[in-house]
């Protein structure tokens, strides 16, 4: 059975009447990772937020979003809130701004856990501590008493992953989790995402415009352009035999870059055209 099924999802702006997602249908199998690729403004983030029912109030959505067979559009705000975090966990792009700048990190973590579990303060700290250690964060207790601006983007990203580990959600939705990071942190975070899947056995929706990352982590890929899904399929197939022109373009631009890179690495002389 599909864990998540999206049928005919449509999202539009009430003020301008503009359609942001035209008519999307896709599904997510248990224990798999679906990547959504596309340039900014193609509707990737809006799709994810639609699943969370967290789009801005001027965006309306219609269609079916079935989570474990139940349409989330039929859920009340209160029921939906119970699902957020516990069942559907989101990880944002920019760790720096994802936490309230005027509180220490621990406050957000504790508030979230208190919302979903009846744990004592001590148990929360204990679980957070071991989760944070598992994502290679040293001195977790100290980190929990720090303000966001005192930590690096990569660390904050891993804190979000650690929170996801404790929450044990069914689906993790990661919205460009590596875009704001430098190359080394990017690598570390991706490794943590892979481990996360192995460990929790959960499904994942992974949004990115970085094809290398997607190739590395996803089982299936959706390619979006202007609010429409223009191509879908197994990751390897989409990358080796792209059907749609846009996908071909995406893959080829990447190819050019990496070819260039490979040439340099192989020590060929690079002719600079001036």
């Amino acid at each position: 059975m599909n864990l998540l099924e999206v049928n005919n999802l449509k999202v539009w702006d009430v003020n301008t009447g503009k359609e942001i997602i035209v008519n999307s249908s896709f599904h997510l199998k248990q224990n798999s990772c679906l990547a959504i690729v596309g340039e900014s403004g193609s509707g990737k983030s809006v799709t994810c937020r639609a699943i969370m029912k967290l789009n801005k109030s001027y965006l309306r959505q219609s269609g079916e979003i079935l989570f474990k067979g139940k349409n989330i559009h039929d859920l009340s705000e209160k029921e939906m809130r119970k699902k957020r975090g516990k069942n559907l966990c989101m990880i944002l792009q920019n760790g720096m701004s994802a936490f309230d700048p005027s509180c220490v990190i621990g406050i957000h973590l504790r508030e979230t856990l208190a919302e979903h579990f009846n744990w004592s303060k001590k148990e929360m700290s204990g679980r957070m501590k071991s989760a944070m250690e598992s994502v290679m964060l040293k001195n977790p207790l100290e980190i929990m008493n720090k303000y966001p601006h005192q930590l690096s983007g990569g660390m904050l990203q891993r804190i979000m992953i650690a929170l996801a580990i404790v929450l044990e959600p069914d689906i993790i939705i990661a919205d460009e989790p590596t875009t704001a990071l430098d190359a080394i942190s990017q690598y570390e975070v991706i490794e943590q995402f892979k481990k996360l899947r192995e460990r929790l056995g959960c499904s994942m929706i992974f949004i990115s415009h970085d094809l290398a990352v997607v190739k590395n982590i996803a089982d299936e890929v959706l390619v979006m352009k202007d609010g429409e899904i223009v191509e879908r399929g197994k990751t390897a197939e989409v990358f080796s035999e792209p059907q749609h022109d846009y996908t071909k373009y995406l893959v080829s631009t990447r190819q050019v870059l990496s070819n260039h890179f490979n040439r340099i690495m192989e020590g060929e002389a690079v002719v600079v055209n001036s």
Binding site: L54, C89, M90, L92, Q93, A98, D100, P101, S102, H149
Partner: protein, 310 residues
């Protein structure tokens, strides 16, 4: 943190000394000879050179400039600002109570301004772009363009005289506060609620709100986070506003005959009563510096990002 607060308080001392010096120099820049002013304001019919010389000696005006400043500064520390040229009363006996009255008006108005600004700011932010947001901003635009003394006069005419609801002037009961406070609040809240609104809106669109919701936090908790962050901006703005209001209630005080610094200073300016003007500047500038320091400290305590930069 403690060291920052101490540093901020210590830095006030040189600042206050400079302020006192500037105040002293300012009065001595007057194109008139102060001795002559003294005699004129006492209504002496014929001012002779001998009288001027005597007055100079009496007021210590014949001494070197820095010595005069030093004497003046020392006596200011003891709240002795000299005597009024006109009435001969000690300046502090006039300034002290007037300052208290102005302070009362300022504090009550500031509380009203803060309450109204936050209320309107939050309403407009939550309903951004809707009818209520637009109309509140539109009305506030015209209210801030209104001369406050004009509005005050109209209110006196219609509310106090025609309807006989509130006193026209003076400071007798809590009723006396209503009109002046209302006028000051209208003029300032119209500016400051915009800041609350903008900072609320900026915060509503922050990622931490989205992430908080995505983690399933209740709206109540999220609102507390937003308020916490937007109030920081609001508080820093109000920190600047309070001393400014303290110094600019002059016109309103005059319209309502409020027995405060504003009324006193205008009297002093019209009769060129220099010691009072001097004390007025010194007292308000000191209060200004103290309030600014306080607001900086409160800001630093509230804002962890600032705190770690100190």
């Amino acid at each position: 943190m403690a060291s920052y607060i101490l540093r901020r308080i210590l830095i006030m001392i040189p600042l206050l000394i400079i302020i006192s010096f500037v105040t002293f120099v300012l009065i001595n820049l007057s194109p008139l000879d102060p001795a002559e002013v003294v005699l004129q304001s006492q209504g002496v019919p014929q001012i002779t050179d001998q009288l001027i010389a005597e007055t100079k000696e009496e007021f210590g005006m014949d001494k070197p400039f820095l010595v005069q400043y030093f004497h003046w500064f020392i006596s200011c520390l003891q709240l002795d600002f000299g005597h009024s040229y006109v009435t001969g009363k000690p300046v502090w006996s006039l300034i002290g109570p007037a300052f208290l009255n102005t302070l009362k008006l300022t504090v009550v108005s500031s509380v009203a301004i803060i309450a109204l600004s936050i209320l309107l700011g939050v309403i407009c932010a939550v309903r951004e772009g809707k009818m209520i947001d637009k109309s509140i901003r539109g009305v506030s635009f015209f209210l801030t363009a209104m001369p406050s003394y004009w509005l005050a006069s109209l209110m006196i005419l219609y509310i106090s005289v025609k309807l006989n609801l509130l006193p026209t002037s003076g400071m007798n009961s809590f009723k006396s506060y209503i009109l002046p406070v209302a006028i000051i609040t209208i003029s300032y809240a119209g500016i400051y609620f915009r800041n609350v609104r903008t900072s609320m809106i900026n915060n509503l669109n922050e990622d931490y709100v989205l992430y908080g919701r995505a983690c399933g936090l209740s709206e109540k908790k999220i609102t507390i986070h937003i308020l916490r962050n937007s109030l920081q901006v609001a508080i820093s703005i109000f920190g600047m506003a309070v001393p400014i209001i303290l110094g600019s209630t002059v016109v309103i005080e005059n319209v309502f005959a409020w027995p405060g610094l504003g009324s006193l200073s205008i009297q002093a300016i019209l009769s060129r009563d220099f010691p009072i003007i001097q004390a007025y500047v010194l007292v308000l500038a000191t209060a200004f510096v103290i309030f600014n320091t306080l607001s900086d400290i409160v800001n630093a305590v509230m804002n962890p990002k600032l705190r770690s930069n100190l």
